[in-house]
Amino acid sequence: MSTKASRFSARLMLAPAVILLLGWMLVPLTLTLIFSFQRFLPLRGGFQGWVGFENYARFVSSSAFWPAIQATVIIVGGVLLITVILGILLAILLDQPMWGQGIVRILVIAPFFVMPTVSGLVWKNMFMDPNNGLLSHLWRYFGADPVIWLSDASMLSIILIVSWQWLPFATLILLTAIQSLDSEQLEAAEMDGAPVLSRFWHIILPHLSRAVTIVILIQTIFLLAIFAEIFVTTQGSFGTRTLTYLIFQRVLESQNVGLGSAGGIYAVILANIFALLLMRIVGKNLDR
């Protein structure tokens, strides 16, 4: 049993982390909330009075809002679809006996460690460039006209780049989950003559459901915030302006802080919906 003294010192040791995170959360968020009710243009007259919910209404009714929501949903949804489906297949494959398993794992995981600006620029220039990119060489080799990826197929391009970065994460988590599957159960099913598909459907998939949920929630939170990949490729043009990018442009590029802050509050609310779901799952895990 811990004594009163050790209890007290334990609280003392916890305090710096709690105070710092509390400050990190409350101070900027409060400021954003305050700005969101102001007409505030730092480069054009600064603070120009309180406007109530006008920024909130204007942000939603601006012509850029719905396209931004649409772009966000398509990118997040597309990347989730690709990474979860391919991730499950890849995790099952990597779980099979093979030669050089460790090396294959290293190859598959590598993209996750590439910084977003590098992956954005490497894909943009060395693969998707319509004149000199490797994909354009490939297209010409087969006698086709090269695709101008980042303008004609901009959404697909961004989804491809981001999926390439996040597939390793999904695979790694799903592989970890598969490896915890009781292999005797699978063997029993195999001996009973259950076909591959039915084994997959009735044993593997249910076992993975929790890991899949976690992959979806964590990736959603990160994907809602992707920035650098768009910043170095399309700069938000050709329909790739996501909610995050739109807010960034309002705040830093056009310096309309009031409007951008209202958008920021929307983004916070959106992220919190997924965060709450995630925390319920993680929280259950804490009880054990």
């Binding site: 099979q96 943009k124 000199n132 988590i173 920035f227 929280g283 804490l286």
Partner: protein, 276 residues
């Protein structure tokens, strides 16, 4: 009993898995190869694969033209500094929650996790403003603090899940033998906690090194790390593929190697212990 498989099936698995692995790794491999080519070879159609005049010229040019080592140094200071600073704060916090839990420990842990979910863009301007006011814009110390704060929840969580696995009986035995709080931490806990601490450090260096929202928005010329340095290649002049490749290779190589060592920790850290 291991699942028995035919050699034929194993060969098939191997072929498919290696094929997919190489496809996924290809962009990185291609970048590394291109970094050793001349600019003309870099855009050659049909592409040259391995048989070209290998040159280190690009690496020399990148270093000379843009003073690569300064960005590298900034990255090292910011990633390393934020990790060290974070550990100083996270270790006591995680220790306290793991060994002297109260009925509010779970709430505090979940609340910490919730701060990680705050979208950066929602607080971009306030942070920007505070940085200007405090003179922290485009400074390494400012960025170090921000990256420490965004990764602090992950550090606390990872350490907490590791510390939780240290059996409490050992602590009680040490206390019976008259060990004080200091001896307990120094001689009993620290040796058992070192693997967990090392994993946490590794993962956080990787996350901080690759962070590309705050590093792009809060730095300009002086404190810019490698993420921002690479971003400067988004408005190219003339032929630059080989140089872009050289710069990229240098920026990702150290983290790629660290990353391969910390695959397991990645799962643990980024899922907050929910998948093991």
């Amino acid at each position: 009993m291991a699942r028995s498989v035919t050699t034929q099936r194993k060969t098939l698995n191997t072929a498919i898995a290696w094929g997919i692995g190489l496809v996924l790794f290809f962009p990185i491999l291609w970048t590394i190869l291109t970094s050793f080519k001349t600019e003309a070879q870099a855009i050659a159609d049909p592409p040259v694969w391995f048989f070209f005049d290998w040159t280190l010229e690009n690496y020399r040019v990148v270093q000379e033209r843009s003073n690569y080592s300064r960005f590298l140094w900034n990255s090292i200071i910011i990633a390393g500094g934020s990790t060290i600073l974070g550990m100083i704060i996270a270790i006591p916090a995680a220790w306290s929650m793991a060994f002297v839990p109260s009925n509010r420990t779970k709430d505090i842990l979940l609340w910490m996790l919730s701060t990680k979910m705050l979208p950066a863009v929602g607080v971009l301007y306030p942070i920007y403003l505070i940085f200007i006011q405090l003179g922290l814009l485009d400074t390494r110390i400012g960025l170090t603090i921000v990256l420490m704060l965004i990764n602090l929840p992950i550090m606390v969580w990872m350490l907490y899940t590791y510390f939780k696995e240290i059996p409490g009986e050992i602590l009680e035995a040490a206390r019976m033998d008259g060990a004080g709080l200091r001896e307990e931490i120094l001689y009993v806990l620290t040796p058992m906690a070192i693997p967990g601490i090392a994993s946490t450090v590794l993962l956080n260096i990787i996350l901080a090194w690759n962070e590309a929202f705050w590093t792009l928005n809060l730095t300009a010329a002086r404190a810019a790390p490698l993420t921002a340095f690479i971003a400067s290649y988004s408005s190219p002049e003339g032929l630059f593929y080989a140089k872009l490749s050289a710069a990229s290779t240098m920026a990702i190589a150290p983290i790629l190697i660290l990353g391969w060592f910390s695959q397991k920790q990645l799962v643990r850290g980024l899922t907050f212990g929910a998948v093991k």
